[in-house]
Subunit: 412 residues, 2 copies
């Protein structure tokens, strides 16, 4: 029998408990042994829940129970998850997690520790919910030099942008309805400001490029400034605005950012709607592959946690290695030196003067007009961010131009 | 050093040779040992190719070379691939293959044999080119009861249908241009009649449902009867026609078929265009996930072969098990008892009489008209195939109706 303890009986924790009970026969057949949740750790009480019998408030009950060989850490946050994970590993227990903050902050260290103790530290559920991405990246694409990863890694923001696009609503209106429906938290900051997606792309980049990427090095911008008008301009050029977390190998290291992007509708990520997530990977041999599924949700996320539990159980006594050789921390280029292009919305006093001024600054460029009386948009060519931002500041001072209303980067 | 032999120096074989040479440093780092192609088997000569030095016409050169621990069988077809694979395994060499015919016909047996000899028989490249699907299915989704798999598993037919849809061309016109471009074979039968997709869905179903599925039990219909008019009707109801290979758990076993399907444009598979392939999986916990990439092509397919080589190399001396417990052959329901619905195109003498006749036979149904003088289409409700085909035969005899022009099944 494989004894499991679950740390945290929130959405994912109760999902893990349910998946193990619901699919118990299948899991036993696949592992070759039965699997049982022996303890659930939570500070709260759950008087009318079947978990009551195995509920504990003391992590030491789990640590000292030799029948527990696998700990599912699904509590989130850095502490006490970090301390509990270390202690569990050092007690010879594998740790499976959905905790992106902890993996982004201490993942490499915990993986090293697991190796030392011949147990596993697995975290498929920390990125993209149930979307299998860690193993595809580290095993299935292992013949490739990974050149680029980009993804829609946050369901809340994708839901909001999808609703704004499909129904012409404002950010604020959709956020409110998303909160009412439970698709957005009461404090939505981590989602709408891109922090959640940032941690996830840091984890994926660390795996893909084989050096730990510090999430603090990744430029992060959320979707709060995206308006329905921005989306109209995107539509006018057969494109869609998505919050894209991306990283790319460059001559100088790595270019990485999280920000809204204008994606052409031919791009596979442009078709991913609602709370779905997707990860797009470019390899030097495999070309483009994409992975799509529920990025969050109780059962999908729990499914990924339990799949890792099965893998650890089948490999008891050794370390399932998902990480590849990791040495020094990856060098993330400063955003200012990364090349990009953008859609810029300009309000004018005089349209023709504005076009002349814009061409003076940006050269031969394309304008987009969607029938607004006092504004148009332009699409820049590729420039470094530094040059682009200087030019953006410069045009605001030019003849005929009232103000720059928004700048949204474009893929490419 | 890991010694590799490549059987067959065609498109995939030369790709394997190129990927190993091109990414040699990366591969050595990931395996922890260098990797080298020691022999390439082919009946032909390649006088101006660097492979000449290691080319052999005699499989025994490979079999007797103890330095060869891994054989990449990328020759295709049943024989001599089957005999060579068995001999290699029995000589203690792992076999990696892209050969869907052989895997569909003898996969379970060769996997058993590999287990007996503590080597691996891996076949990621046999389905969906470089799309990681075997490991996601067997490892990442191992906490799930897989309920359904469906996919666009053939690039040639997807290219043809995409071109027909986007450019309003006929099947024959697009097939010819596809042959000119090298996207379709001179004899396109295996692709356009669905035989290729059939073998692939048999392999995936065997893995997903944990019992070998005999490809001969799967109803298979190609795309040769799809016309530009059929596609127009699909467009009129916001849908797309795709060649879908699918299998689904049912109360009586398994329902599986390969045939053109009318897919609503909201379905993730409807967005997969050109030579791309995609696999859509429904699990009882994970919900919907999808995997997308190049379904064919020299380097993408070779990337999948080499990834399996790396996995076998890292697990030398033991068997990498991708297959789950497989016992008796899966029971595939006869198509006649499977429920489906369809779009049926009816040519008429009299439109109003025809509508009355159709309602007599099919009950309250929806009609689609696209402005044709002598025909309309109807969408049936769900019925068993047997009932549906009887009703199709029956309406052809009814008042006002000239003939039934086509029947295309719909998803659902």
């Amino acid at each position: 029998m494989i004894g499991v303890a679950v740390l945290g009986y929130g959405t994912v924790g109760s999902g893990v408990y349910d998946v193990i009970n619901e699919n118990n026969n299948i899991l036993a057949k696949r592992i070759g042994k039965g699997i049982e949740v022996l303890h659930v750790l939570d500070l709260r009480e759950f008087p009318n829940d079947s978990v009551t019998n195995i509920l504990t408030h003391d992590f030491n009950d789990i640590l000292s129970d030799e029948k527990v060989s696998i700990v599912a850490e699904v509590m989130g946050g850095i502490e006490p998850a970090y301390t509990f994970s270390k202690q569990a590993i050092m007690a010879g227990k594998s740790v499976i997690t959905s905790n992106k903050s902890l993996v982004a902050e201490h993942g490499p260290e915990l993986m090293e520790l697991a190796k030392k103790y011949n147990v596993s530290y697995l975290f498929e559920a920390s990125v993209g919910g149930c979307i299998p991405i860690i193993r595809p990246l580290c095993v299935s694409l292992t013949a490739d030099d990974i050149l680029e990863i980009s993804g829609i890694l946050n369901g809340t923001t994708n839901y909001i942008l999808t609703k704004m696009t499909q129904e012409g609503l404002s950010f604020g209106e959709v956020l409110k309805s998303a909160q009412d429906l439970g698709y957005a938290e009461a404090d939505p900051t981590a989602d709408v400001e891109g922090h959640d997606a940032c941690r996830k792309i840091a984890i994926l980049s660390s795996l893909a490029y084989e050096n730990p990427v510090n999430f603090k090095d990744i430029y992060t911008e959320g979707i709060t400034k995206i308006t329905d008008l921005d989306i109209e301009y995107a539509k006018a050029i057969n494109s869609t605005i998505k919050l894209i977390a991306s990283s790319k190998k460059t001559a100088n290291g790595l270019a990485a950012k999280v920000c809204p992007l204008v994606l052409n509708n031919e791009h596979p990520l442009s078709t991913i709607n609602g709370v779905y997530n997707a990860v797009f990977v470019k390899g030097n041999m495999s070309g483009n592959t994409m992975y799509f599924g529920s990025g969050a949700g109780k059962l999908p996320t729990a499914s990924a946690v339990v799949a890792d539990i099965v893998d650890a159980a089948k490999n008891a006594g050794k370390t399932v290695e998902v990480y590849r050789n990791c040495s020094s921390v990856a060098k993330v280029e400063p955003l200012s030196s990364v090349e990009t292009r953008a859609l810029i919305r300009v309000a004018f006093y005089n349209k023709e003067e504005t076009k002349v001024s814009c061409k003076e600054v940006f050269g031969e460029i394309e304008f987009i007009e969607i029938g607004k009386e006092d504004e148009l948009a332009l699409i820049t060519s590729f420039e470094t961010e530094e040059v682009l931002m200087n030019k953006k500041a410069l045009i605001a001072t030019k003849n005929g131009i009232k103000e720059v209303r928004n700048l949204i980067r474009m893929e490419g």
